[in-house]
Amino acid sequence: MAVIAESARLAVKPVSRFRFILDRRDVLGSIFIAPAILYVLLLVGVPFLLAVYYSVSAYTLYDPTWRFVGLANFEQIIQNPVFLETLGNTFLFTFGSNLLGLIMGKFGALLLLRPFPGRKIVRALIILPWAVPIALATIAWEWMFDSLYSVINWTLIALGIVTRDDAPNWLGSPHLAMLCIIIINAWRFFPFAIVIFLAGITAVPQDVIDAATVDGAGFWRRNYQIILPMILPIVAIGLIFGIVFTFTDLSIVFLLTNGGPSGATSVLGFEGFQVGIASGDVAHGAAISLFMLPVLLIVVIGMLRFIRRREI
């Protein structure tokens, strides 16, 4: 009797165990997500720890020993006045371009909310700066800011605002160069801001807006006391992207100004690249890059808490 039961169990076992695994929601769930997590752990987690270790070692391309030096790298970096300027530049670049991008984004979204003939084409054109690879767009801007053949200067001269002799040398003077990278990054970011604002505003139920209108709320009141608070979570998501990617960006600076003139546009990502890759001083490069981390953490945690609090 027991033998029969045992053999019967054996006979169905292969199929049933197979089905058992494929039917267990939690088991299959873990199997499904394992490859993604493994990939990310190996190629984001491990390199991240390696970067932290680089920053406390004396590792260079020419002396690849893993000698532990503690926080000496960070100390040397902080004492370097050039680095402090870089840090300041990074903040100015990030907040300047995101603020400009947000203002233009809000304004652009207000325009695109209204139906008008050709709106689809207008939207398609406005999306361009965000869609197109930033390295390619930066090259076009570099050509527009050229010291001699700048189309912007040509227009200013033709309009009689400046003469050819005192036409601005956009990328050659420190303040103008900083303005240029802020403008380019805002230009790249604001279509994304428009799209985010539009997605948020169209998600606000019409009856809420109607109720406010009936209660006597005007245009500005509707916008800033009804709609803006309701779309803040979505805007916060957009801002996380904007701030994080600007704060860590190096391609605009690398291509447009190469950090110059005399370090006026050097930002953290660019400085990390220059020191770590171009000069081969991996340890100091990693330490410079790690200075991004506290800001990233504060921004991300702050925003996420903000979003969650609003849900409840």
Partner: protein, 281 residues
Amino acid sequence: MRRILAITGRETAFYGAVAFFVIVCAFPFYWMLITSLKTNSDLYNVTNIPFWFTEAPTLEHFRYLFEQTLFVRWLLNSLVIGLCVTAITLVTAIPAGYSLARMSGRNGEALGIGIFLTYLVPPSLLFLPLSRIVADLGLQNSMWSLVLVYPTFTIPFCAWLLMGFFKAMPPEIEEAAIVDGCSLFGAFMRMTVPLSLPAILTVVIFTFTLTLQEFVYALTFISSSDQKPVTLGVVTDLVRGDVFYWGELMAGALIASIPVAIAYNLFLDRFISGITGGAVK
């Protein structure tokens, strides 16, 4: 009369503002086009009106780009990189997104936010150690290093997007398939995946555009011209020393920009609903 004037004024201001935005956004691309079609003597003459042709337009820059540079090779490299990265991303991100949306219970939300945060870990923090890892694997100076590394940001991004899409699908569809005798896995393969093909197509398009837009890793890992993807090749190889080949640069930038611009415009709405939907639901 005053009313009509007020309305006309408002309309003019409105269309003026729209025109301002369009010019700000599209002018650099117009500038690429016109530069790439001008003769050099027209281009480098400050007395000519720059907005239009003074001399007859020419295709010389395009000819040079295709015949005298590795431009075609760069396009092919980008295509191969894009296809491989897309394949890796789909195989890992589709199940991951589904798992996050349906199978992980309470942990799913935390895992989802974790994955989202991974996408925010910037290349400028990781390129130093990754270049060492790439070298240890014998992939330095090869486009396959990019195939290896690009999924580190496409997988989190696409898993996040797909999670949003899967959450929006009614679970009754799979439940019906299970009642009819499918295993959970079978329900996923036979019902969920075919039904979410539009979402998967969106993910394919965006993975591809993300690989085209990436610049930092390509710059760090690759120095041989014949291994470069198109974005890197155009901006580094068409500048020799201090000499910028502006006509060729703009022609290359324009050609590489067009497919990305079209893709974004076609799939923008799905992209936005994915990026925000996962976050606010």
